[in-house]
């Protein structure tokens, strides 16, 4: 039970590369915080700094209101689940889980009780005598989790724990991790590059890019109000459609020179980007009002039916976009559709990529 507080945390490597550029994150007791971003954005480095595996160049990391900058990983009372699980290959599952407790000098009977409890929670009881190489990927993942929960630490750290599993198992484990975390109520930091994992797991979502935090918030808030074009294109699948525009005298000018009337849209920046989610387009039948919204021409490039819905790929104003349509789409390549983006579903970003 503990909060985790990062204040202006920076990491500069010996070569001068700044991997983490002043990050502030406040994680409440019991919350699951997900750090998400593309590879190389510094999310794993940040996690390792919380773990104590990486030195902190600047700023403070507090766990349970105590600055832990100068403490070793063992003294921070954290547990970490690694991407490759990092199970000790020469030890049985039981010993893998008991190792941390033995190192802390816990009495034998108590260790046994803890290990068996954790094993029962994770349905590992029948595997305790096996070695890691005799386990499947999903089972190894569970053992790694078991090794973390058996210690009953203040904070769980997850470093892309599901990325080595196949898609089906990943979905299953995602739910289990969430439930387990809720049930144990242990503050957790979870690193992933998978936006779906991030959206579904997070209490607080931290979107990172190039060593800096782009946005922090509840997953759905971020989905609905992305702070920048980066967040807009990173969160959501398929990602948000982004169309660069220039503000003209009487409306907006698209890349290909198309002028569109935009009553009620106040665009002060000369260069701007309009964004809309694939599901927020409506196909115009001719009678709807599009006051406050945009009426656009979409040229269909192709259609991908995926069952319950279809993705229509097309071009608006010279930019590729994707539209999500319920059921099947009757559109054919080279069709032209009149589409409306309702004003309230429209996202506007300035020339610097920040939300207006």
């Amino acid at each position: 039970m503990a909060s985790v507080e990062l204040t202006n945390v920076r990491k500069v490597y010996a070569g001068g590369v700044e991997a983490v550029k002043g990050v502030d994150i406040d994680i409440k007791d019991g919350a699951l915080c997900v750090l998400v971003g593309p590879s190389g954005c510094g999310k794993s480095t940040l996690l390792r700094m919380i773990a104590g595996l990486e030195s902190i160049t600047d700023g403070t990391v507090k766990i349970d209101d105590k600055v832990v900058n100068d403490l070793g990983p063992a003294e921070r009372d954290i547990a970490m689940v690694f991407q490759n699980y990092a199970l000790y290959p020469h030890m049985k599952v039981y010993d893998n889980m008991a190792y941390g407790l033995r190192n802390r000098g816990m009495p034998k009977d108590q260790i046994d009780k803890r290990v068996r409890e954790a094993a029962a929670t994770l349905e590992l009881a029948h595997l305790l005598e096996r070695r890691p190489r005799e386990l499947s990927g999903g089972q190894r993942q569970r053992v790694a989790m078991g090794r973390a929960i058996v210690r009953n630490p203040k904070v769980f750290l997850f470093d892309e724990p599901l990325s080595n599993l196949d898609a089906k198992l990943r979905g299953q484990m995602r739910v289990e991790i969430k439930n387990l975390q809720r049930q144990l109520g242990v503050t957790s930091v979870y690193v992933t590059h998978d936006q779906l994992e991030a959206m579904t797991l997070a209490d607080i979502l931290v979107v990172m890019n190039a060593g800096a935090v782009e946005q922090i918030g509840a997953p759905l808030d971020i989905y609905e109000k992305p702070a920048s074009t980066f967040v807009a294109s990173f969160i959501g699948a398929p990602p948000m459609n982004l169309i660069p525009v220039t503000a003209g005298e009487s409306g907006l000018i698209l890349r290909d020179g198309t002028r569109i009337g935009a009553e009620g849209l106040a665009v002060s920046d000369k260069d701007a980007v309009i964004g809309f989610r694939p599901e927020d387009l409506e196909v115009a039948t001719g009678t709807e009002s599009h006051i406050g919204g945009l009426l656009l021409d979409l040229k269909v490039l192709g259609v991908e039916p995926v069952g319950a819905e279809s993705y229509v790929y097309g071009i608006i104003g010279g930019e590729r976009v994707v539209v999500r349509v319920a059921g099947r789409s009757v559109s054919q390549p080279d069709d032209h559709l009149r589409v409306i983006i309702p004003g309230e579903k429209l996202h506007l970003f300035g020339g610097n990529g920040k939300r207006i």
Binding site: A51, L53, A74, M80, F82, Y88, P89, H90, G100
Partner: protein
């Protein structure tokens, strides 16, 4: 597991042609002398080399009851164990240290590997010059420190000297394998152990050392073979098997009996015994070292 892609030659003769040089060398320098040794080991030659007679296992019986041979066996065991333990112990220590170095890693490693390139006889001379009681620099220093250093007369000191020289030369080889072994241990395992509250020493003995076991075992066999057979040059240069017979290993005795004293039958019988030992060691190596260890 290695992939089992088989290369097939369209030409039936070519593969044998390509193998021929290697086969020829193996036959001329290994199989032929080995067969000669086996033949010789059951024969006895008269002092003038004019006649030979078949004596069956007589040569073996005689050498196995010869106190000199048993002494040589004991010397070999002590010498091998000491050499292997010292060479591996230091190599492991250096490998662990070198693994921690961040700056100039390559330089350290290169320097560590150099002694391996020194020929055994040269290495022996080097140590002899340094520790020779009458002219050695180190010998002078040891004497100045008040210690009576004379490996030419003191058999324990002679043993110490050949062990040191033999181990020194082998450290490089072991170092290479230990460095490779350490590198193959995933870093996350060490980190996980650190988070699990194991200090550096504890991590070494509970995680790193067990995971190095295959490497260690492989090196143990290789080092034993080395100490048995490849240290001839060092012993020959440093002590010549003396003082007395204090550093006369089995291989040295084979040479001494066969080529110096010209007792061919005895010498051949001894080399057959050595052959059996090396076959045994190789079998152990293949049987156990080939067992794979899986990480992760």
């Amino acid at each position: 597991m290695a992939s089992s892609t088989r290369v097939t030659f369209p030409n039936k003769v070519l593969p044998y042609l390509l193998l021929a040089p290697q086969l020829a060398i193996t036959i001329v320098f290994f199989y032929w002398p080995a067969s000669q040794a086996i033949r010789q080991s059951v024969l006895r030659e008269d002092p003038f080399g004019l006649s030979t007679q078949f004596v069956g296992l007589g040569n073996f019986k005689r050498i196995l009851s010869d106190p000199n041979y048993l002494n040589s066996l004991q010397v070999t065991v002590i010498f091998s164990i000491a050499t292997a333990v010292i060479a591996m112990g230091f190599a492991l220590l250096f490998a662990v240290m070198a693994d921690k170095v961040i700056r100039g890693k390559g330089v350290y490693r290169t320097l560590m590997i150099w002694p391996y390139a020194v020929a055994p006889a040269i290495a022996g001379m080097l140590w002899l010059f340094l520790f020779n009681p009458s002219m050695g620099t180190f010998a002078y220093m040891i004497r100045s420190a008040g210690y009576n250093w004379d490996p030419l007369l003191n058999s324990n000191q002679a043993m110490l000297l050949v062990v040191a020289a033999a181990a020194w030369k082998q450290i490089s080889y072991n170092f290479l394998f230990f460095v490779a072994g350490l590198q193959s241990i995933p870093k996350s395992l060490i980190e996980a152990a650190a988070i699990d509250g194991a200090g550096e020493t504890k991590r070494f003995w509970t995680i790193i050392f067990p995971l190095l076991a295959p490497t260690t075992f492989f090196l143990l066999v290789v080092n034993t073979v080395y100490a048995f057979f490849d240290t001839f040059g060092i012993i020959h240069a440093v002590t010549g098997g003396g003082p007395g017979k204090a550093t006369e290993t089995l291989v040295y005795k084979v040479y001494n009996d066969g080529f110096v004293n010209l007792i061919l039958g005895d010498s051949a019988a001894q080399s057959v015994i050595l052959m059996v030992i090396v076959i045994g060691l190789t079998a152990i190596q293949f049987r156990y070292v080939e067992r794979k260890v899986h990480y992760g």
